[in-house]
Symmetry: C2
Subunit: 577 residues, 2 copies
């Protein structure tokens, strides 16, 4: 490719709505152009990156035995009604009517359609297992699209769906996909973690997210630097930090804590460590046809509640909300900020976090405004909690599950997800096959997504500097750029640059020749912004010495290499990049 | 690929709604599965064909200097309002609202978006010419989708758009695309014609359709077997068939023609050739704020009216309709079937086809029920027509424009279209650039479409027999199938089939190994239905003689080839296929 025949339009400034680095750099380098909120044109430069990512995914999916097909963007509502998602899915599901008034959706995923295919195509256990995938345009009508391709509305996703005879088969299919994902993300050249994840509302029982490590990430990943343990903080088990509850050593006493409605203020005022305070969280559930129930959740002052874990507690599973001030005053006789488990006015269900249950001589609210109680002990000053369970998020320094060392936390961008679905969809859509005994059985399913366009953004978030993008070589729009300095004037430069360009092309390198006769400063800044891994500069001054300059995008300093064997050296440098 | 790891589900019968061969064969071979009316899943087998077509298109578009990008499926209404197509486009344009109530469309084409990109990205003449294309999902909400992928609602199209500084540049871009299309359709291996086409409502002034020749085609192509002249019948000029008008030789006389309201019946009754009769067609136009005008169009009895040509006549350009019976009786004093240009009750505008204007001693309606007039002559029995022009469709045997030989007609399926747009969209969207003199000028545009999924159907319509599809080798889902007979029993067969399969794969052949242990009859019928070009059969009986069987899908009889050099012979046979 010659730059003069390519479309390069970089921008000095990114538009105001570009809040994060990847969005800014994709706009500035000319990879994308906004068409509407969350809807982007992928310009030739951006599409090259997308195609390389798609090809890596396709190769590894094919190698893993998955079969590519293509399901439509526009899907009939009937199937979504059958699965129940027509009702369950919120306004993110874009619905529309065709000219005859029939309901359709723009697909956000394809569980319904693939299950419909499977129930029509698969009759016998002999046809299983099978794994179908497609790489297709998806649409989610995000309320507030932002961050460019990271949270867009129209995007490209690879989604795969496995069908198996039984749970054991499904677990094998899951593992095959897990392994393929490891290969894919390794080939993409990104720092990532496969983390255990919550199975959430999709149902099923096993799930891993593939998270690209980046400070901007919306997910918190808990990991053990010494082992391969990693989990989304939503799921990661938070251990009890106190092996055994100590015997009481203090007298219980109400103390004045005027205005100290937060644990940190109380600890400071009473000159005790934050870890000897307890915070109270009051929730309400409203069971059908029964009176509302008030729950008091107790966490150590330095810990945060984990909503996912709380949502799994029996009685809280079907939904809960924060209690209202009225409900709190009715039950505790006091406004929020000074609440505690000792002597409530009306009974509440007390649930203690694992660590809280082993605390002794602790501080909690006195259920009296501007007062707390000090030296509180379970059993002596109040009954044991009704339930002791894991309520909190892991924090940095918590002991690792291995028993050695401690946990660390980092941020990640979710770019892939493998999911054991079980029979959720095959049951809803009655996707059965005849087993070896001739009996109909439900297919066991898994689903496996990769956000193709989101990977572009995540890769940039992970690899950029103040000059621009730093691509990994497998997904860079070009591997090498050959810059000819003084193109218009120097025949020697043109001749040598063309020779190197042609030789690299013949050796299978994805190379672009900059023949635009730009000033070096502008040209170099543009390629640094675009982030091509290697830059070869051909100029009259160098040629007089018999050298060209080779610059790695990861390195500030160019090296001089002899013209004679420069092609070999460039290819070597690319291998090592 | 191994058949046991692929998804092959052929059907004995096609569903009832499959009216044409390609639709039936795509369903039966398992290439597509219907999801909703005009919306299909492309199964792994079908997708392989689509990808091969896409790759040929992509390679030739790239070679022609076009740049691939990707524009969204969902497009904001604003741009369509700006171009005027929001109003002009009928119910085929699928419209919808997002969660905030904003209007969007599902793209049927991308003129608006690409022009928006051009006006934002292109400032200077130095950036021109440029040609952008994408291969993307399109949606047209057809009133009556049918014929499978031939007239579907969701389909894949390659659409390209060129931008030039002036008309001369645009014509050059047009020619580059025309040449690329010739290469593409030649590589697809299809019999096709590039035909001059009407520019219709899209505007612009130059247009060619690429038509795949097939009996089922909806388009009639007029061509000269001796030259490369070819045009859509909508556009093809129909010459005057009578070089000079002969002098009158008969007396004019009213004759009784009871019940003969059609030219053919009149000719039979009066024992005159059909070519001496004239048919009358009465049209009405309703100019704004003026009384309606009645038009009498005269064609020879054996000719048909061409609506496109009629629609270009001054006065008829802005729309016309067939006259009502009331209007006809008011102006002719007679009901339809016996109308003619001689002595109408009220004045009508008489327009004669080129051939009609040179007829003499002709027969026409007498404006009296059950009567015609014989021996009618222009000038003597009625005034010369107000306008003489080409009104008719070319018929087989009309003289060729070259002056030598005569025209033939065949049916075609439109699979490609190149179109010089001019400034229709650049004007509407104000897409200007600064020319060499620093003055803003409108970009000259062309658009160039190829119906990717429709090509699949057209290729099958052109190449099939009663057993199934006969693929051309460049787009076949597989080039070669190696069938192992008695797979489960014979180790020799397995070993030899695997050896041939592996060797072919290593030589770059797209080969599938049928290792499913099916009975030969079932296996062979399946591969004939699927239409793979070459079948290699490995069986114990052949191996005993040291041979395998090679069968071309174009040939009923297999040939025996020695096992030793069978790979070379298979590859040779593929080259010659």
């Amino acid at each position: 490719m010659r730059a003069s025949a390519f479309h390069i339009t970089t921008l000095k400034e990114a538009p105001n709505d570009a809040e994060i680095a990847s969005h800014r750099l994709m706009m500035r380098s000319g990879m994308i152009r906004k068409l509407a909120g969350g809807i982007y044109n992928y310009m030739p430069l951006g599409l090259r990156v997308i195609r390389k990512i798609e090809n890596i995914i396709r190769q590894e999916m094919d190698a893993a035995g998955a079969l590519e097909l293509l399901m439509p963007v526009v899907q009939p509502a009937e199937l979504w009604i059958e699965s129940g998602r027509w009702e369950q899915y919120g306004p993110e599901l874009l619905r529309m009517k065709d000219r005859h008034g029939r309901d359709f959706v723009l697909q956000p995923t394809s569980e319904e359609v693939i299950t419909d295919i499977a129930r029509n195509e698969i009759q016998s256990w002999r046809q299983l297992p099978v794994n179908f995938y497609h790489i297709q345009t998806k649409f989610r009508d995000e309320r507030r699209p932002r961050f460019g391709v990271m949270r867009g509305r129209e995007f490209t996703m690879k989604d795969a769906y496995s069908f198996d005879r039984d749970v054991a088969g499904a677990q094998k299919s899951y593992q095959v996909m897990f392994d393929a994902y490891m290969k894919i993300f390794n080939r993409l050249g990104l720092k990532f973690r496969a983390v255990s994840a919550d199975t959430g509302s999709i149902g099923g029982s096993q799930s891993h997210e593939f998270q690209v490590i980046a400070d901007i990430g919306e997910d918190l990943i808990v990991y053990d630097p010494a082992t391969d343990f990693a989990a989304n903080i939503e799921l990661a088990a938070a251990p009890c930090l106190i092996a055994q509850r100590a015997a009481p050593s203090e007298h219980v006493a109400e103390v004045s804590t005027p205005g100290a409605s937060k644990c940190s203020a109380v600890a400071e005022m009473l000159k005790v460590p934050l870890s000897s305070t307890i915070k109270s969280i009051v929730l309400t559930t409203e069971p059908k046809d029964k009176p509302a129930v008030i729950w008091l959740l107790l966490l150590r002052g330095d810990h945060d509640m984990n909503e996912i874990k709380v949502g799994k507690i029996p009685g809280l599973k079907d939904g809960f909300r924060m209690a209202t001030d009225e409900e709190i005053i009715e039950h505790f006789g006091c406004k929020p900020g000074y609440l505690g488990p000792v002597k409530t006015i009306k009974p509440v269900k007390v649930i203690a976090d694992l660590t809280v249950a082993n605390m002794s001589d602790f501080v909690c609210g006195a259920n009296r405004e501007d007062f707390h109680i000090q030296g509180v002990n379970w059993g002596r000053d109040l009954p044991e909690p009704e339930l002791v369970t894991d309520l909190r998020n892991v924090v940095e320094g918590d002991p690792a599950p291995s028993g050695v060392g401690s946990l660390a936390i980092q941020r990640g961008i979710e770019v892939g997800h493998v999911f054991y679905l079980g029979t959720k969809y095959s049951e809803a859509l009655k996707a059965t096959f005849l087993d070896e005994g001739g009996r109909p059985a439900l297919m066991e399913m898994g689903c496996y997504g990769i956000g193709v366009t989101r990977i572009v953004g995540a890769a940039i978030e992970q690899n950029h500097d103040d000059k621009g993008i730093i691509w990994t070589k497998t997904i860079a729009p070009f591997e090498v750029v050959v810059c000819g300095l003084g193109w218009g004037k120097s025949e020697a430069v043109r001749e040598q640059a063309e020779t190197i360009y042609t030789a690299l092309k013949q050796r299978g390198i994805d190379v672009i020749l900059d023949d635009r006769d730009l000033r070096p400063g502008i040209m170099f800044a543009e390629w640094e912004l675009i982030g091509v891994p290697l830059r070869v500069t051909v100029g009259d001054r160098g040629l007089a010495e018999g050298i060209v300059e080779l610059l790695s995008r990861k390195n500030p300093d160019p090296t001089k290499i002899p013209v004679q064997d420069c092609v070999d050296q460039i290819i070597d440098a690319l291998k090592q990049y």
